[in-house]
């Protein structure tokens, strides 16, 4: 049984569990894309440096592999 601890008037259990996954979904998807673009950008401004670009592409590709089925399952859940 989960205890309910209140901070002010917000029940902490609710704050963390209700729609937590919906709150985090945009972060989980967008932050890796932003970080990978930052790597690619840093590579371009420093004269297309191989290292930063390849790490940026690796982060982007790796995340897309898991984000696409994740987003599919998210929208399937929202439909229900």
């Amino acid at each position: 049984m989960v205890k309910r601890v209140a901070i002010g008037k917000i029940p902490l259990t609710g704050l963390f569990s209700i729609k937590q996954e919906i709150l985090l979904t945009p972060v989980i998807v967008s932050v890796p894309i932003a970080v990978s673009l930052l790597f690619i950008y840093s590579s371009v401004v420093s004269g297309f440096f191989y290292g930063n670009a390849i790490i940026g592409i690796t982060i982007l590709a790796g995340n897309l592999v898991f984000d696409i089925p994740f987003l599919k399952s998210f929208f399937r859940l929202r439909k229900k």
């Binding site: 049984m1 989960v2 205890k3 601890v5 902490l12 259990t13 704050l15 963390f16 569990s17 937590q20 996954e21 985090l24 989980i28 998807v29 932050v31 890796p32 970080v35 930052l38 790597f39 840093s42 420093s46 440096f49 290292g51 930063n52 390849i54 790490i55 690796t58 982060i59 790796g62 995340n63 592999v65 898991f66 984000d67 089925p69 994740f70 599919k72 399952s73 998210f74 399937r76 859940l77 229900k80």
Partner: protein, 207 residues
């Protein structure tokens, strides 16, 4: 699989892959105050994870996507965070970067492939993917280390995945086992006057 179970499953996979964003650490220059700030930020993040974990284990809060066996023990994401923190702060970039990438991508990939193509083929895929990720960083190392190190790294990742410990999660072992193996080789080479490390792959912003 029900749609909410399917969502929780992919949520965990996506969180895993998300771990690669911590490599942004190396985009921040390591000079003076910035170095102190980035180390403090890393330690702060893992401390926050620790507080959340204590609250979760004490059942003060619920975390979506937690597994049943994690009810009474530390969850995988915290082990992942510990591994990333140790690697970023104590290991050279050339060892930390591929180890973190393997934990972020090879581990969820093998978990997914195990049920689709069988355990043996999934582990073979994990070995090859880890080898490639280490090779990306070590391809400009002196011969023959540009092959030996990715091979050793991939073996370490596989050992971290297959090793079954009750209290230590594979999310930590997948990062630490290859890092320790390569560090031992690095120290042995250094004692024999061999410069093993290739150039760092990530250059900081403005560097």
């Amino acid at each position: 699989m029900k749609s909410n179970e399917n969502f929780a499953h992919w949520y965990r996979r996506a969180i895993h892959a998300f771990g690669a964003v911590f490599l942004v650490y190396y985009l921040i220059p390591s000079e003076g105050l910035l170095n102190t700030i980035k180390i403090m930020a890393t330690l702060s993040i893992i401390t926050i994870f620790g507080i959340i974990e204590i609250m979760r284990i004490k059942k003060i809060i619920n975390l979506f996507g937690s597994r049943v066996y994690e009810n009474e023990r530390v969850a995988s994401y915290f082990y992942f965070g510990i591994g990333v923190t140790i690697l970023l702060i104590f290991f050279p970039q050339q060892i930390a970067v591929p180890s973190i990438l393997c934990a972020a991508f090879a581990d969820p990939a093998v978990g997914e492939l195990r049920v689709r193509i069988g355990k043996r083929n999934a582990y073979l895929f994990m070995f090859l993917l880890s080898f490639v990720l280490f090779f990306i960083v070590w391809n400009n190392a002196p011969s023959p280390f540009f092959i030996i190190v990715p091979f050793l790294g991939a073996i370490g990742v596989l050992a971290g995945e297959i090793g079954n410990f009750r209290w230590i999660d594979d999310d930590l072992l997948i990062q630490i086992v290859p890092a320790v193996l390569i560090s031992v080789l690095y120290l042995a080479a250094s004692l024999n006057g061999i410069a093993l490390l290739p150039n760092p792959i990530i250059h900081p912003l403005g560097g």
